[in-house]
Amino acid sequence: MNRRGKLFVIVIAIIVVSFLLPEANLAYAKGVKRDKSVVFSAVWPPQIDPAVGQGFGSAICYANIYDSIVFPQSDGTTTNHLAENIIVSTDGLIYDIALKKGVKFHNGDELQAEDVVFSMNRIKTIGEGFGYLFIPTVKAISSDGPYQVKIELNKAFGPFLATLVNLYILNKDQVMANINPEGLYGEFGDYGKEWLITNDAGSGPYMVTEMRIQEHLIAEKFVDYWAGFDANNPDKFIFIGTAEAVTVRVMMGKKEMEISDQWQSEESFGALDKIEGVDLVKFLSGSTLGIQLNTKRAPTDDVHVRRALAYIMDYEGILKGVYPGASRLVSPVSRLMPGSDPDIVGYETNLAKAKAELKLSKYYGKLDEYPVDICWAAEWVTADKMALLFQANADQIGIKVNIAKQPWAKMISDVSTMETTAHANILTIGPHYGEAGTFISRYLSSSCGTWEQTEWLQDPEIDKMIYDALGTVNDEERYKKYSIIEHKILDICPTIFLVDVLEKHAYQAEYLEWGVAGGNAIPVQGYNLYMRDMKIFPERAKK
């Protein structure tokens, strides 16, 4: 064959391949579009064992795969879910829970009281995931017949019902049938941890059909789900582990993904918004962002310096330049949370007040000797802008700020001691449960040394007030006590409150109806991607 002949063969081969590949690809596209599936991306990998994970991706899985005693609502309250009825003793120490009858696990077994007891004991014993919510509070749990559970607390804990949202019930028999006997938990072996990495033992509306670590989690509708489905609820959801902007954009553009992750850059969200049929949805996530000031190191150990910094901060600059469209945080508590004081007034930018506060400080006139270090996790790019703004703002009143971003691991290590904790740390705090107490309690002395409290407040009076509030069972009374604490914290200003964090996603508004887009965001991690709150209409998708 001469040279031209060879060239001809090559060209023909290329043409044939490029015609064949779209065929293969078309089948791929059909595979996604044929059914009513919702594809989304988030933090990966999720730990689908409810006694192990607690991250955002894991929380989405728990909400959809498992059931809990109570279910969170968009106003922050809870309603009975697996519970038919809950009676709380007057001292707030005993919770008698009557379970619904006829609830089926994915394998067909009936969910009973011993499964609840098993799940609570399991999460407490393992101590990972949301275990920290129950270890200090739950003294004992027992069953009385197949549908009656009794939980006894160590001491009264007002927000206990809110924490029960994170107690997911596993099928005891199924887990025990799949334990590795060589585990760490005696007769319980490994408590099924190994098996539960890729399998579920839940009763939730969706059941895991395929978990490929580093690729995807596929969960399909559990047809026998006790609470039923709407005809247009997704048949399955596919959780993938990529947040690469270009990948997400291509997938959204090809309608291979219904909901993007929330960590895309503003530019990326802008590009996603331009795709036909794709809209952006924003809602308060319940997380708060602020600058935590070390109250034990000079000069931020002086309340007047802290207040001066709070007064000099350019809040509008942050809301316009760093978090466009976000909402201002004025106190320790996200205003999404029940129990937050809606009337509280925070610090506003005011140069005159900042200067006046500084004059009252013991460091006035010698601030040159006391530079302030500001630290944040290097992986968090947006925080750079806030740190620079803080630096520029502080400069107006003569406070020198050193920029000292660190890798997250180093930052965690640094904040473990008072001396190595920077003067100022930019941090986002997420709620552990859907109630104001979650934000208030981080000011307890016991939280010091963790990234959740780099202020090193260690104030016995505040500790006492917080314990008193948390131990108050009556909601109204407790909320009043929270309000007093919020005012007190504002007064001593250990934190500069910046942003009530918004969660933002791009989604296929053309054919996906999503509850949160209608303003029904739920202030508990994971529940905004609860598939039963979504309706999908693939026929509405334009080609």
Binding site: S18, L20, L21, P22, A24, N25, A27, Y28, A29, K30, G31, V32, R34, P45, Q47, D49, V52, Q54, G55, I126, G127, E128, G129, G131, Y132, I135, P136, L184, E194, I197, R212, I213, Q214, E215, H216, I218, I238, I240, G241, T242, E244, V246, T247, R249, V250, M251, K254, E256, E379, P407, W408, A409, K410, I412, S413, D414, H432, T450, W451, E452
Partner: protein, 338 residues
């Protein structure tokens, strides 16, 4: 005999290198800040739980003892548990390594054959417009990181002209064939699942090309310059004087010795592909070892980090030995024993 002796000596040296590497990564893993147990369990885990995990991981023991536990485990194929996936690291390696291996083999083939082809064409058409075009394309290939190619390919062939799938190894409507080798294409052929094979093949094309382009360009430049160096040498002139056909001179007497630098660089490039694949794997959601390696580093998952680095180190060592063998085959004057 000489080759065997060479192999034995190199393997012994490689073991020493890998042992040194193990000490280095172990120490580095312990020096960097952050408590692995705390990072695995989360900020809210009770201290008792963290302490228990530290005990399980022997983090509460002196560093020499820690190393001993870790090293003796490795020798038995036990790299410990991954804090990232919560399962034995060896299970992760057996799942993720074949995915990267498959990708790298494809990329390596493209890199080697493509580089060779472009280098030969460049030499043949030296200083013509063909050579100039290949030169420009090669320079672009060398200076552009593979993830940029990945993004461009994704946009062009995944979005604007969607002829290739862009996510993972296999479309979700297909199931993986029974696992024999972990290599999807081979396994699907063994199982006779042609649709799976074809689908898997269409998935690997974009990431493989994106990964290969840099090395391919480099190989093309090296092949060209090496061939042009040799083309004016006396032995080529004497072949011409003897009237040996030009084609034979070109492919037999010129190309073979000119391949030595190309093969040397190819060997290293091939090994480097394993480490460099991570961004391409991220972009294409390819569940491979490189992506796993990055994820475990971000999680400070010491067991997994060590396993990945040792595995990559072993690949480098093996590729170096293979390269030496191929070079000695190409030019027998190069004495292996020396």
């Amino acid at each position: 005999m000489r080759t065997l002796k060479f192999l034995f000596r190199r393997l012994a040296l490689s073991l020493i290198v890998l042992f040194g590497l193990s000490i280095m990564i172990f120490i580095l893993g312990r020096v960097v800040p952050g408590d692995p147990a705390r990072m695995s369990l989360g900020a809210n885990a009770p201290q008792e739980t963290v302490d228990r995990m530290r005990q399980q991981m022997h983090l509460d023991e002196p560093i020499i003892v820690q190393y001993w536990y870790w090293f003796s485990g490795i020798i038995q194929g036990d790299f410990g548990k991954s804090l990232y996936t919560k399962r034995p690291v060896i299970v992760d390696l057996t799942e993720f390594f074949p995915a990267t291996l498959e990708l790298v083999i494809f990329s390596g083939l493209l890199m080697g054959l493509g580089g060779l082809f472009l280098g030969i064409v460049s030499t043949k058409f030296n200083n013509t417009w063909v050579d100039n075009i290949i030169r420009i394309v090669s320079y672009l290939g060398v200076v552009t990181p593979s993830f940029v190619f990945a993004i461009i390919f994704l946009l062009i062939f995944g979005y604007l002209w969607p002829i290739f799938p862009t996510m993972g190894r296999l479309s979700r409507y297909l199931s993986f064939p029974p696992n024999h080798t972990g290599l999807l294409l081979i396994d699907s052929l063994i199982a006779g699942e042609w649709e799976t094979f074809w689908n898997g093949f269409s998935h690997i094309i974009l990431p493989a090309i994106a990964l290969a382009l840099g090395g391919m360009s480099q190989e093309a430049r090296i092949t060209r310059s090496s061939m042009l160096d040799n083309i004016s040498k006396d032995y080529i002139l004497s072949h011409r004087a003897y009237g040996i056909p030009e084609k034979r001179i070109f492919y037999k007497y010129l190309l073979k010795p000119s391949l030595i630098p190309t093969v040397t660089v190819f060997g290293l490039d091939f090994a480097i592909l394993f480490g460099n694949a991570f961004l391409v794997e991220m972009v294409f959601n390819w569940p491979g070892l490189s992506r796993y390696g990055i994820n475990v580093m971000l999680q400070k998952d010491l067991n997994a980090i060590s396993a990945v680095i040792i595995l990559l180190g072993a690949i480098f060592v093996i590729m170096n030995i293979v390269t030496d063998l191929v070079v000695s085959f190409l030019d027998p004057r190069i004495q292996l024993a020396d």
